[in-house]
Symmetry: C2
Subunit: 392 residues, 2 copies
């Protein structure tokens, strides 16, 4: 019995969803994300797909067929904290539905087709986005990855087996379908688009150190308060990004000791920065660092800035993008990172399909795509797979 796109979407919807906010909490290797994973394995079994996994939490479900190098599609099942339903799962559910469409059409592939799920795409638990695809593609080594720690101090090496991955050994093309993050397709009146490139981007940790003291008894002029340095840095980052047409965000901050009646000793904050090209990104991060350092001198505090990750611009395979594009499928850039960007950088020709997002909102419970657009995405993905996997 075939399970439709709509039914799969309904089955997956409650997994890791907050009853109060509707936001998703599918951090990698937590109960909710493992439940989503178990759901995926069930759907693969239902379709007689052969599941292969590696020691990093990545999985590919194979439609074994024909011979020669494989065509891979898929996405991820993990979410940001309080995320939306579509970012990741839409690509996985659409890939399974595209397999169903191809089989309904009587299509017989001339080479294998894989449906992949990459681990920790969001970097919402371990502090490196696209962790699974970086490891599977050899862009990151296990010795570095195993030491990455989550907020509770748990090492990545303690939650996965590790080792080496040869999941991608036979893959020579990857197509990832994803909900659009932004309103480009809305403005263009298109249900589905094709990615041209990913903006260069990175996350930068600002360690700001001052001196803990009593909030009541310490005169304002005797303080060395790193919260002031942080506050000015937030405003400086916003302003620099605004005037240069780029993006900078402080979405996470840890304060130590975090007492209401104490001046903090340290503030640790993360800046997400993205720009249309690499010199612009470098200038943005440089400007914010300089302004933070100047303010720190005034506050009597210290600032250290560490690039926890920095991803250069990714230009997707141009020939492949042209093959996917069409009158009703415009080619657009994105400022969001994806596993597809990692695979392209690792030398696997890669393309992305975007499905229209009526509000443009993402990484939020408000994230949305209309079912008709999702089904158009499934058809587009099935067409692409049929084209790439030749066959009949």
């Amino acid at each position: 019995m075939q399970v439709t796109f709509e039914q799969m979407w309904t089955d997956l919807a409650p997994v890791g969803r907050s009853a109060t906010t509707g936001g998703y909490h599918r951090q990698p290797f937590t109960a909710a994300e493992r439940e989503a994973h178990a759901w995926f394995l069930e759907e693969c079994a239902r379709r007689d797909l052969r599941v292969e996994s590696d020691g990093f939490g990545n999985v590919i479900a194979w439609w074994d067929a024909g011979s020669g190098p494989a065509v891979l599609t898929g996405s991820h099942l993990d979410s940001v904290r309080e995320g939306g339903a579509y970012d990741g799962p839409l690509g996985v559910v659409s890939a399974l539905a595209a397999v169903d469409v191809l089989r309904d059409r009587g299509f017989v592939p001339s080479r294998p087709i894989g449906v992949g799920v990459f681990a920790e795409e969001e970097g919402s638990r371990f502090p490196l986005a696209c962790l699974g695809s970086r490891l599977a593609s050899g862009r990151l080594d296990w010795a570095s990855a195993r030491e990455l720690r989550d907020r509770e101090g748990v090492a990545f090496g303690d939650v996965v087996e590790g080792g080496t991955s040869d999941l991608l050994r036979d893959v020579d093309v990857y197509v990832e379908l994803h909900v659009e993050q932004g309103r480009d397709l809305v403005d263009r009146g298109a249900a589905v688009g094709v990615a041209s490139a990913i903006w260069p981007h990175g996350r930068y940790r600002f360690d700001m150190t001052g001196a803990a003291d009593h909030a009541g008894t310490t005169r304002m002029e005797d303080r060395r308060d790193p919260m002031l340095t942080y506050a000015m840095t937030v405003l400086a980052a916003n302003k620099q990004a605004r005037v240069s047409g780029q993006r900078a965000t402080f979405g996470r901050v840890d304060v130590d000791p975090g007492s209401t009646n104490g001046i903090p000793s340290t503030v640790t904050a993360w800046m997400d920065a993205r720009a249309s090209d690499e010199p612009a990104l470098e200038a943005l991060v440089g400007d914010v660092t300089r302004l933070a350092t100047e303010r720190a001198q005034r506050d009597g505090t210290m600032v250290a800035v560490i690039a926890e990750s920095a991803t250069p611009e990714v230009r997707f395979d141009a020939a492949l993008a042209r093959r996917l594009a069409g009158a009703d499928r415009p080619v657009i850039p994105t400022a969001a990172g994806h596993d597809a960007g990692i695979l392209q950088t690792a030398g696997i020709p890669t393309a992305m399909l975007f499905v229209r997002n009526p509000t443009g909102v993402s990484h939020s419970p408000e994230e949305h795509a209309e079912t008709a657009d999702c089904l158009a995405g499934v058809e587009a993905l099935a067409d692409v797979l049929a084209d790439l996997a030749g066959g009949s």
Copy 2:
């Protein structure tokens, strides 16, 4: 066998102290604070003091003697997060040592002397400072207190028995010894001082609400980012306090969802504000609220400000202060809240002794007092108790 001040101090020193920073973590009803409490009960047993407790975690150890209303001394054993050794414990250890001094002198009190330990003085776990003394003195009712929740969502009503307290029924005077928080006694060259008053102060919660979205794909001009509102509010509070000679501090902030690659939906932050008089405090909080609200309009966010606690100025009993003061014991105000302030407000004539703090630093591992000054504090406290408890 008598246990000296120094020995008691040494015994208590390792309890709840971080091995890496030297800071103390004695949040109420946690293992470390309970260990400090157990230490106190042992010292009371050693001195044949009769221990009486209430359902809020408050304890008084009685030196039963004579008749009539009692003289109470003591302080608290809980600490802020990453606090110092002296804030609280110095008053408890000094009270026990003062009992020893009086007994060594052969002093026989004409009325009972109590050594009290009040629960949750710092408000470092449940969000209301002086929680134990407020409840014991009837300044707060159990119905309100039981609903107070810590950061993990645990209700105060789930960690204590509650009910009503009559611990203070026979107390008609309270003297609390405390390490000075500030450098007033250093500048005056005095080992011990006497408190005149406590500045009015409060903690104000700022709930700032915007809209969660993707940090990469959302254009700067499309954002409703509450982190910007927060940052401007921090700087405005600092500036307003500086120009008016008052105090304002943001030492704690929670960000939801707190993802590196997401614009936050809400920022919740706490302002500690203190001023030399009540109109000045009101003006300070009003100015910061107004500036935060103006900025929120610019950011497309919302701000709500809630006074979680607001403590009016406390003037300690003037006659009592005069009785304690002397040529070498100056009378000084303080900007720090204390259980003594609560008891004074509840109608129990109250005084405070301060012991010199060479750096003035408090609520920090750097908090300090020289042993000679601590011993001078014990002698001063013994003198005060002898004076108040009449006897021979």
